[in-house]
């Protein structure tokens, strides 16, 4: 029942506004978290049994009639589902306390679940139009969530986000139209097969460029990134966590990877362009992060930089590179989710996001400071945390595939990363306590619990990295490393 991944959050999202009329807090809290907990358990425990015999495909039908929606689950999708469920659950737990003062909790959870449903659907989609469709579902929910605070900045950011996203989806739609025109089909397998026979280089090149711009915008690769540093910090903290941790990866990196590797096939030209874009994002965004005074903006730029790593790793195209890229995607989802949550704790406790105004908060918020440190060190790639291993795999893959220059850039960027994260940790948590915050208290229970949950995952995966890679990452990387054949050969009914 793959459809549950999409249907359950959609159904709960539909019920929630009605329930909200009766119970303003407790029942929405329970329902939303239960739905996400179920998704997590379903993905983590049942998921691997489902795909034990190869990818599974589910044809949706309406009163016995098959409709044009088919969902498929393979190793790559499952990894993404797991990441979505983990970060989604953490963000949802965090919301229990954090969203108290925003009001309209039921509506918030409904939007949140619609976004989750959109992402899950995108991950399971098997044709190009469904990719566009679910991407818009998730995106529309996210516009509303960015603007959820209804302040001036939030609205401006949401509007800017909307306008640039629309450009992205427009180009994606054009590209889908071009492909449909050439092949007469939208299904991944059929398109892949047709393209192999057609051998139409120029048109595919144009479509690739359009896809690259569209998904690049969604993934916030430089130079398509400018919306992200406005949009992500403006949203409520749990939404920032989901946007930065999941949405840019699902609607950007996942879609891009799926189409380029499994449908178009990764040509050397595409590989070079992807790696260059990844390296550029990595370096430029790291420098931009260094210059930020706003904690969440720094995190947002850091997301751009880390997505650069992921794209660089996947762009190599070798099995090890893909595995490293996917592992980093997973690790970054956890760590960046964690960091946005801790920044939310800090913002709620102090009312500011300005790093210069903070200082010494570790004395008042020891758990938040510790979890923040775990997340920061994980992204910076300090052993034995999870981020270290994925970066190491990417760098090894770069060297093995004969790209020593990119490898050096990756290493130097991780130094830059460590630099701005230590800057953040020192300015916010270490040093002398700013007297303004003498009365600050540790974050409430659920907020702390959510960050501790993610921090423990970061540490645990770092220590058990080899078993994580063999259980979750390798099946996903295998699907991608098989290239076009994975789609053509194995979409069994």
């Amino acid at each position: 029942m793959i459809i549950l991944f999409v249907a359950l959050p959609l159904v709960v999202a539909g019920i929630l506004p009605l329930v909200g009329k009766v119970s303003r807090r407790v029942v929405p809290d329970l329902l939303a978290n239960a739905a996400l907990l179920f998704l997590l358990v379903y993905a983590a425990i049942t998921g691997r049994h489902l795909i034990a015999g190869g990818p599974v495909l589910q044809q949706l039908s309406w009163f016995g009639e098959p409709v044009a929606i088919r969902l498929a689950l393979d190793g790559f999708s499952l990894l993404m589902l797991l990441a979505i469920a983990l970060v989604g659950l953490a963000a949802c737990l965090f919301s229990i306390d954090y969203m108290e003062h925003y009001g309209a909790k039921a509506n918030y959870y409904a939007l949140f679940l619609v976004m989750i449903a959109g992402m899950n659907g995108l991950v399971l989609a098997t044709d190009l139009f469904n990719v566009y469709l679910f991407m818009e579902v998730a995106a529309v929910a996210s516009y509303a969530l960015v603007a959820f605070g209804l302040g001036r900045d939030e609205l401006e950011a949401a509007f800017k986000y909307l306008l640039l996203s629309v450009v992205a989806t427009a180009f994606i739609l054009i590209s889908v139209a071009v492909i449909f025109g050439m092949t007469g089909s939208l299904d991944f397998a059929a398109v892949a097969k047709a393209l192999q026979e057609l051998n139409a280089g120029a048109a595919v090149g144009v479509a690739s460029a359009f896809f690259l711009m569209g998904f690049g915008l969604k993934a916030a690769l430089i130079p398509f990134h400018a919306w992200l540093p406005d949009a992500h910090p403006s949203a409520p903290a749990p939404i920032s966590a989901v946007l930065s941790g999941l949405l840019i990866k699902v609607s950007g990196v996942y879609a891009m990877t799926r189409i380029f590797l499994n449908v178009f096939g990764l040509t050397p030209a595409l590989s070079t362009v992807l790696m260059s874009l990844g390296a550029l994002s990595m370096v430029v965004a790291a420098f931009l992060a260094l210059g930020q005074k706003d904690m969440k903006r720094m995190l947002a730029y850091s997301s751009i930089s880390q997505v650069g790593y992921v794209v660089l790793g996947i762009g190599i195209g070798t099995p090890l590179g893909i595995a490293g890229g996917l592992f980093h995607l997973f690790n970054h989802a956890l760590a960046k989710g964690l960091l946005f949550l801790t920044s939310g704790s800090v913002q709620q406790a102090t009312g500011t996001r300005d790093l210069d105004e903070m200082g010494g908060l570790a004395k008042r918020m020891p758990i938040t400071a510790a979890t923040n440190l775990v997340g920061a060190l994980s992204i910076a790639g300090v052993p034995p945390l999870n981020g270290f291993w994925s970066k190491l795999i990417i760098i090894i893959a770069l060297v093995q595939s004969g790209h020593p220059v990119f490898a050096v850039i990756a290493v130097l960027t991780s130094v830059l990363t460590l630099w701005y994260y230590l800057l953040m940790q020192r300015k916010a948590f270490f040093g002398k306590l700013n007297e303004k915050w003498a009365a600050v208290k540790e974050a409430p229970f659920w907020m702390t619990a959510a960050t501790v949950f993610l921090a423990l995952l970061c540490v645990g995966i770092g220590i058990l990295f080899s078993s994580t890679v063999t259980t979750w990452i390798q099946p996903a990387a295998d699907v991608l490393a098989d290239g076009v054949h994975a789609v053509i050969g194995s979409w069994g009914f």
């Binding site: 640039l164 460029a209 359009f210 690259l212 711009m213 130079p223 400018a226 406005d230 030209a269």
Partner: protein, 622 residues
Amino acid sequence: MTPKMLLLPILLPAALAVVLLVIPRTLRLVRNALALAGAAVLLYYGFVFFALKDLRFNVPWLGMGIDFDLRLYHFSSFILLALAGFLILITLYSTVKMKDAPRAREFFAYVFLTAAFANGAVLANNFVPLVFFWEGLLVTLYGLITIGGRPTSGRTAVKALLISGFCDFSMILGIGLLWTVSGTLTMSQVSVEPTGLAAVAFVLMMIGAAGKAGAMPFHTWIPDAAVDAPVTFMAFLPAAFEKLLGIYLLARISLDFFKLRPGSGLSVLLMVLGAVTIVLAVLMALVQKDLKRLLSYHAVSQVGYMILGIGTAVPFGIAGGLFHMINHAMYKCGLFLSAGSVEHRTGTTELKKLGGLRKEMPLTAFGFTVCALAISGVWPLNGFVSKEMVFHGALESGYTVFAIAAWVGAIFTFASFLKAGHSVFFGERTREIPAVKESQPAIVVPILVLAALCILFGVYNKLPLTLFIQPILAGHVEAGAHLDFTSHALDIFNPVALISIGCLVLAFLLHRHGFLKSGRKPYLASEPVHNLPVVHKLYDLAEARVFDPYEQGVKVLHGLSLVLYKAVDRPIDFVFEKVVTVAGEKFTAILRKAHNGHYANYLAWCLAGLIIVAGAISLLAK
């Protein structure tokens, strides 16, 4: 008596140390009783082992020829007995003297731990256990000095640790070299000719042994410790234990491990080391104004006689050196304990403030006098006998100059003790110190026991010489050689003895001259020597620690680290601190300026990116 009994002298004090550490302050009586009982048991077994003389305990340990190998034979049983004897005296003394010390528990624990390590080092018959026990002594050395509790105690403890550590390090290097040369780590099997690599090994191991005994230039922590550490510690380690251990090892090195030949280069090297130590240290001792510091310099100076004696490599000289070792341990221990007794009652050991204490503290005064006369080599005390033997040995080796150096040392030794004794116990009673009583029996008894032993070993020198010293040399003298030291005319009517007595007379005249010249102030009696034109400058430099290799080494290292800091570290730091960060910040500023928040701007980037990407794909695809 099973071989396992050899573990007793190591395990018993170690276990006792742990117990003593945990007994609370309030149970002081129990602590004292336990410590004394333990020391008594050790002394009893010291006698038992001495009578037994031959026992071996050997279990495989780390492989590679590294066994836990303990061997009891004549020499080690003699040192073991001596260690046990000093331990019980020091323990008895400490029960009163350290009663109210703030870290008394630690003190007792360290003392017994030291005893455990020292016994282990003496019994070890494999170099690796030897090094293990030898290094263990460093820990307690450090701990005991810090118990002094003065502001500079920590610094002195570090100094002692570093100097001893350096000496031990060279000893380990020497042992490593010796291992490669001899191919075995079992001490009783090693016997090599000191040539080539083995000569280097000899010098390195000699540094280790001489450093432990406190010879120059590894002595500089001892005078500092005299002020900073408890006086009981001085009587315990630098005066007794370390001399016994260091000279024991030096004798093993020159007698067993290496075949040291009379007149060889290494023999001369040892004699030079001994002679220099005798003369320089005694000159420093002469001008000291504090009794404890004065005694500490003598503790250095007297090592010179032992090293000189062993360095002669002739049987008579070696026997003299070894006899001097046990004699020195007795009278120097007695002297430090007397100084401690004075300090216990008057609260000071400054010569200027003391005077005429013989009436109030007659027993301490008696003990001090006997020991002082013994160290000065006055007939018929033990110091006279062993010094005579060293003089004879030096002359026999053919290097008269070393005998002369030893005699010069004797002059100033007596002169400085005339000054010390005169200042503290004789002369006029000063008014600065209120009326005092004689110290408690637990303090006086050890002093008197040591004084009595000094007399016994002097008058009946046949007894210790035949009982303790002579068997050590068995097997090391060529067959048929003369081995009867006692018949070697150790009476006062021979030229050597007459010269020695002449030296004593000279010393008396020197003291009298200084005493009268300084206006009958005994503590200024050394001023005429002190104020000699060039000598005065040298003394000032010495007091400023210019000749202290440790202090100078520390200065050099400070300078070196400063140079490295300024020339290497700062420039590198500048690159990171200024060049990299400023460049990074500049670049960041440029990038930030580009992000001006205009939607059109951002859209333009996207379109430009699209064109570039499309161009790149089409270009690369061809």
